[in-house]
Symmetry: C2
Subunit: 203 residues, 2 copies
């Protein structure tokens, strides 16, 4: 007969074993460095998770920067909230909107260049610990920016600077040099059921 007490003891032994594995794993990781993080894929949450990281970094007292390459003035919920933190976050929205909104390649290239100038400036600012380059992958995909130039800037950045790059279709060369790459996969999407983009959720 299996008693409750046997079950509990087994559970406890199993979890103790799991904790030992977990602790050994944590002890094996000793490097601290600024990470190059990429959020890509067709699912939702790429920019949203970047803003979650921003919130965490703000809570730790980091100075942060945000450069938005893609979305024009469209997304304002998170920006409105971040204004509460004043000078702790430098935020630049320099995209002209999605590329199919502008229908003008020269204008898209110019907007991407302006955004990249800001990004470079923030990378060179020693006070900045976290820099979010939102939708940079889109500018790279459409060759609005030179990939080699971007990769070189990342490779030569300060050792303690975390950089987060978002957007679909991340370039393989970027994934290659990144420390952390997450693909957001759409399992199910409410747009397919006729639900529209809603304030506080999508923007």
């Amino acid at each position: 007969m299996t008693t409750e007490t046997d079950d509990e003891a087994r559970h406890k032994a199993k979890m103790a074993n799991r904790k030992a594995v977990q602790d050994a794993e944590v002890a094996g990781k000793t490097i601290e460095k600024g990470l190059l993080i990429v959020h890509t894929g067709k699912g939702k949450g790429k920019s949203t998770a970047a803003f979650g990281l921003l919130l965490r970094a703000i809570g730790r007292g980091f100075q942060c920067g945000v450069v938005q390459f893609g979305k024009g003035a469209w997304q304002t919920g998170e920006r409105a909230a971040i204004e509460r933190f004043g000078d702790q976050v430098k935020w630049y929205t320099l995209g002209e909107g999605f590329t199919w909104e502008t229908q003008d390649r020269a204008r898209d290239v110019a907007a991407a260049e302006r955004a990249w100038d800001r990004a470079t400036e923030l990378m060179e600012d020693p006070s900045i610990r976290l820099l979010i380059l939102d939708e940079l992958n889109i500018s790279l995909r459409y060759d609005h920016l030179d990939l080699g130039r971007v990769l070189a800037a990342f490779a030569s950045r300060r050792a303690d600077l975390h950089v987060v790059v978002t957007g679909r279709n991340a370039k393989p060369e970027l994934i290659e040099i990144a420390d952390l790459v997450t693909e957001m996969v759409a399992v199910k999407h409410h747009f397919a059921a006729g639900v529209k983009a809603q304030q506080g959720i999508e923007f």
Copy 2:
């Protein structure tokens, strides 16, 4: 001979076509409703994207609630930042840590029950527009909470309440009733290269 102008005209026509498709798609979506959102998968960004949504909703003036089922007092960067918004966010951290930390099933069940009581309370509070149930999937996976009870509560919630559930191994029955499900897939992880969890990034 192809001139620059031909290229530009082609680009413009292609983008105009794409914009028309996009606009028609947007126009076809008319429903507004509180969404049941699930972030699952083994990759990073599940809770982080939920906190990004929180930031967006705060920026839109929503009252919000957060109940943490899993992590004890471990994750504090985002919470420290959110305190700046005072009463706009009700935040409860009720998990006792990961289940392999406690090694005590009865204690895990009791902690999950306490967290669920808070979740129910917040779902019944008409001022709350967004509720994050962080790591609830873990409590459901280990049967610390009854799945049927949780699903019934979601099904009967207020029509304008957005709920976000995070954690690996989301139950198929939860995915079935959800409006939006994203799987975070780990493409590349810095822990594998010996880099440790760092303040401002992981916690």
